[in-house]
């Protein structure tokens, strides 16, 4: 992997998750001060670490991120807030990497079951162990990515290297999430790292722009989490004082593409998913309207079960667009699924149901293209299908 310069990583097993020998504490530490930006859940019920991180970003002098999986530290009241702060103190106590890391220079992310207190002895042992294993390089980066997973069936990482203004700039990211995915400003947990020379406000602005077309355009079942956090950390180790306007534009495009490529992995791993559903809305009055239509179609259990069953029951898609709460032109409505035209200017087409069903069954990705008018708004959105495995999994998550 091509990892940004200036970061060290570790992921260890601390016994927080039920399953033995699975990594559940992750550390990401900068060799020097890091520029940091963050976007967070808009849920009013927020986990303690989100409250803590919100007050610390954007920043130009962050040093570390500590993550635990297996317990969300959400709905845990004042004790939960104390525990989150304590995690930053433990990082300060155990990490020896360049200058001393102050507790205020640490961000925290937690994920797992809501409403339970963190097992702080295990957390301390985990942070201490992770601090001793901090390394540069792919192996430790992948350990760190493993340590943030919960119900994920696979690890979600990305890396890319680009030349911008004669400098080599690297961007890498890790994310987790397969359920309780309905981001509204951010998603479960994701962390993007770069060595580009960014300023704090610039990092915040570019991250917010990137999130609108990536993490805000995915869902599994549409349940907005209490812990959604997306961080961008920049070490500046690629060199240079700052990016020119042209360089910023080039970097912004790379950051957007990175976020999309990482975000799409989440619904692709939607709990039990057998299909990744890609929804393209075209011709809406605005991008926001297109987003609302796309997210409404994506949230429909009837659409999701039909796609699981490879059933070209297109009325469910069209009718979901109709109750999204934004104006559509029903006489213009045009629906194409996996390349087949099923509904054209408000009239049904005659198509071979078995042929379309067969195409839906044999492709992991189901493509839905819906034209809703002649407006300038569009949105590309991703979700997963809904099947019996999702139900089984989610009916006995805590008990």
């Amino acid at each position: 992997m091509e990892l940004p310069l200036g970061f060290r990583f570790a992921g260890v097993s601390a016994g927080i998750k039920k399953k033995p020998n699975t990594k559940d504490v992750t550390l990401i530490v900068g060799a020097g001060p890091l520029v940091a930006a963050g976007v967070y859940t808009t849920n009013q019920v927020v986990a303690a670490p989100v409250v803590l991180d919100r007050g610390r970003t954007p920043s130009k002098s962050l040093r570390a991120v500590v993550v635990n999986s297996g317990c969300a530290n959400a709905c845990t009241g004042t004790r939960g807030m104390d525990d989150a702060v304590r995690m930053t103190e433990l990082v300060s106590k155990y990490v020896a990497c360049g200058e001393k890391v102050e507790p205020e220079q640490v961000l925290v992310m937690s994920t797992g079951v809501i409403g339970r207190f963190l097992p702080m002895e295990k957390i301390e042992a985990g942070i201490s162990a992770a601090a001793g294993q901090l390394r540069e390089g792919s192996d430790s980066f992948l350990d760190a990515a493993d340590g943030i997973m919960t119900t994920d069936a696979f690890r979600k990482v990305i890396d890319r290297k680009v030349e911008i203004g004669g400098k080599t700039i690297r961007i890498a990211g890790m994310a987790k999430g397969a359920g309780m995915i309905g981001p509204n400003m951010a998603t479960m947990l994701a962390c993007i790292l770069t060595d580009a020379p960014l300023k704090p406000e610039q990092a915040q602005r570019l991250l917010r722009r990137a999130v609108d077309r990536s993490f805000n355009c995915i869902s599994v079942e549409g349940h907005t989490s209490t812990n959604d956090t997306l961080l961008l950390l920049s070490s500046g180790a690629a060199g240079g004082e700052s990016l020119s306007a042209d360089e910023e534009a080039a970097f912004s495009k790379e950051l957007n593409d990175t976020c999309i490529a990482l975000a799409v992995q989440i619904p692709d791993d939607g709990e039990g998913a057998t299909h990744l559903i890609e929804i393209d809305i075209q011709g809406a009055p605005s991008d926001a309207a297109a987003h609302k239509i796309a997210s409404t179609v994506a949230a429909s259990n009837l659409v999701k079960t039909a796609i699981f069953g490879a059933d070209p029951n297109w009325g469910r898609i069209v009718s979901a667009a109709g109750y999204a709460g934004v104006p559509i032109e029903t006489r213009v409505l045009r629906l194409v699924v996996n390349g087949y035209l099923l509904f054209d200017r408000g009239e049904p087409t005659s198509f071979d149901e078995q042929e379309v069903s067969s195409a839906m069954r044999s492709n992991r990705k189901t493509s839905i293209q819906l034209q809703v008018g002649y407006g300038p708004g569009d949105c590309r959105y991703w979700t997963s299908d809904l099947n019996e495995a999702y139900v089984r999994f989610n009916s006995d998550y805590t008990t």
Copy 2:
């Protein structure tokens, strides 16, 4: 059953539904002119019969309602509109009951698969046969209620008799619906009959009031249908010219209770449902805010699967309330499930998970009481759980 005076009913099998010998054409005919009110889906993608009925209610001179199941006549363009009008002409042609029924005096309801054309030869044979079987009394009323069902596991009817102002007034109703239930002004198909002496605008006003706390407070998966229609038909046969203000208030209360009792049967029959979920939101800023929180909790697949699994995973309920988009007071949040206090003023309580799980498993009804602040708004809302049977059923509905 205690049925309102002045109505005749029939339900016959016309071969529209795949399953042989199941009733799929229903007629409800007034001995004389009927006062009629209707509320309809707010989906922008609407079925042809909804367009037709909207233009004909409220009215003081309706005569009949014809219903077919097995085909929704939705997304069928101009041909679908022609077919709906043709159904009213067929009722006029075949029904001989008192004065001649004009096509313009007929309402139409259709339900079933979206995007297919009505088999008009079968429809004509069905209307002709039903016209010959029109009778007063419970047997024909129940035939009519059977004729409107699609995926329903049981027939949904209600009847009640009350004394108002010295007069005996009867109210009866039938409804259908088990999937694609996310009403927004009305629900799938329901028809309330009464012999109270109502005026058209009065009927419309009372029906709209009744719907807000009944059919607008239920969901199965939250998918708003293209065909939602709720009608109120009054024959006036109970006698008297009109209701006094006191009598209207008494009638309105009965109508509300009737609508609630009928509406609750729909999520209780939610496709594959093993639990009826009753959600009480208290202390919201307004009733509308309470409704929004309740419907958001009801729409969460994570809440619904947890209840299917009798898993007291209360964080899912509280977090769903947090993203409903209306202000809540997180320090006041108080959650009681089946009588057990699980979350109190923003702090988790210690409770016996096995005991609560056991109570959830052994009761068909799961009661959720959530206080979100100290405001005056409240809402009682009903939905069903989500389980594997729902997924299986909906993954191969048309193919």
